[in-house]
């Protein structure tokens, strides 16, 4: 049934795309339009693999993730991503989707946290369970709008921390996140840069992750996006699931509130 709906969407999109193709004169726009064709988006393969992984009994405790509480109750996947990050009392910290999945994999399935962190980002052509699980859970919020609680004191602190860190300059180039992401309509080379202090731009970014990165040949998550930005900023490797990463994601997600998720997307 799910596959059937997907196929129907894809066929419709392909027909529309074919009709529009003759009208496009800008090659860059044409490239982006072709990328947006869901029939050509391998991200959905990750969604399907993630769904299988979610239900499969795995790890030293031979358990599935079906009892994992992503914030809306044990096992509730539908709409969970659109309500994250949030505070979890059992872990006594604010968690984004990936931190929470890691917590469930450790506590329900008995996996080792350091091992999960090491394999969270797949190498070219590699197979990261985390990337597949994120694709599966996030797709279950596709079409929904981001709305995160920000009521618990630790959620508020995460937001404030994220903002403070956004403006912090360091390393060889004196870059902060704000160097590239606090002005309207700027580019690095030909790559357009979002102004993350504006709702529209933050929403455009946050509602399109996770995404299938064509140049990476895999699906990438928001934790990877944060790591990648710091890598470009000539900083050391950002620790996967760190308080720093979750703070930035909390700030960005709150700024993006109201934006409607369309995931997995596909990007260059």
């Amino acid at each position: 049934m799910r596959i059937g709906r997907f196929l129907a969407q894809c066929l419709a999109a392909t027909c529309l795309a074919t009709a529009a193709a003759a009208q496009s004169e800008n090659p860059l726009e044409e490239y982006r339009r072709l990328l947006a064709d869901p029939f050509a988006n391998p991200g959905y393969l990750f969604v399907d693999r993630g769904e299988a992984l979610w239900h499969q009994k795995r790890g030293p405790k031979n358990a599935s993730l079906e009892q994992c509480d992503l914030g809306l109750g044990p096992g509730v996947v539908e709409g969970a991503y659109a309500r994250l990050p949030r505070y979890f009392a059992d872990a006594d910290r604010v968690m984004d989707l990936e931190t929470r999945l890691m917590w469930c994999m450790v506590n329900l399935q008995g996996f080792d946290e350091a091992t999960i962190k090491k394999s969270a980002f797949s190498k070219r052509g590699g197979q990261s369970d985390m990337e597949a699980l994120v694709a599966y859970v996030a797709e279950k919020s596709s079409g929904m709008k981001f709305e995160i609680p920000l009521e618990h004191p630790k959620e508020k602190e995460a937001y404030a921390l994220g903002e403070a860190v956004f403006y912090r300059r360091s390393s060889y180039f004196d870059f902060s996140c704000s160097t590239c992401h606090s002005q309207d309509g700027r580019r690095i080379r030909l790559q357009e840069l979002g102004n993350m202090t504006r709702q529209e731009d933050a929403a455009r970014a946050m509602t399109s992750w996770p995404t299938y990165r064509v140049s990476h040949e895999t699906l990438r998550t928001m934790q990877h996006r944060m790591w990648d930005c710091y890598w470009q900023m000539r900083m050391p490797d950002l620790d996967y699931g760190s308080e720093l990463s979750v703070a930035l994601i909390t700030w960005l997600t709150k700024n993006a509130e109201g934006g409607e998720l369309a995931v997995p997307s596909i990007k260059r």
Partner: protein, 210 residues
């Protein structure tokens, strides 16, 4: 009437003043922020060279504190320190080989995790600046540098000013967005001379119409 409706509608659609709308946000102390940043990069496990990337020097600390808009007396202090940091070429020659400067301007390699430290670090000028009119893949975080030397009549003072700007842009304007290529040893003095030649050589494509 229509105007009033439109105004009301645009007020609803207006970008929310982000942080201001969230009640009860705590103030984050510098100590707390720095602790979270250090933990976020597993500071204690890093080699000294990587630890140094995380630690803020005075300029970074002040520009962070004032979000790049320091009050005049702080700005003057940052600019003075930046000017004092500049090392000029010993032989007084500012211009190198514009072709090497062009290569450096196109090159964005270096200093990232996993980059080979033996390879040439690029200046990556095109990431933020338009330069030669023939190169269409340029960024817009910085101003256009098209025709840079020609527009300044290839004047010696302009060449020296550009050297200062590249070596430490905080000497020109405190808390500049641009990296301190000389002061942070991203580029060597010779590298900077090549980039200057790309900007100031009359034969450089920067100063040609097409």
């Amino acid at each position: 009437m229509r105007f009033v409706t439109a105004a009301a509608l645009s007020a609803c659609l207006a970008v929310p003043a982000l942080a201001a709308e969230i009640p009860g946000l705590p103030t984050i102390s510098v100590e707390r922020r720095e602790q979270v940043v250090r933990d976020g990069f597993r500071y204690d496990k890093l080699a000294p060279e990587l630890k140094a990337r995380i630690e803020q020097d005075d300029t970074q600390r002040l520009c962070t504190e004032y979000r790049n808009e320091p009050p005049p007396e702080v700005a003057a202090r940052i600019e003075k320190a930046a000017l004092d940091s500049i090392v000029f070429p010993e032989d007084g020659k500012f211009l190198g080989d514009w072709k090497k400067g062009e290569a450096l301007s196109l090159n964005g390699y270096g200093l990232r995790m996993g980059d080979d430290p033996k390879r040439q670090v690029g200046g990556n000028c095109y990431a933020c600046h338009e330069m030669a009119p023939t190169e269409l893949s340029y960024g817009t975080l910085g101003p256009s540098l098209k025709g840079y030397g020609k527009l300044r009549d290839y004047a010696q003072d302009a060449i020296k000013d550009a050297y200062i700007k590249i070596y430490n842009p905080n000497a020109t304007v405190a808390c500049s967005t641009m990296p301190r290529f000389g002061a942070k040893k991203i580029l060597s003095i010779d590298d900077i001379r090549h980039v200057l030649a790309f900007l100031f050589d009359p034969n450089s494509p920067v100063n040609r119409d097409e």
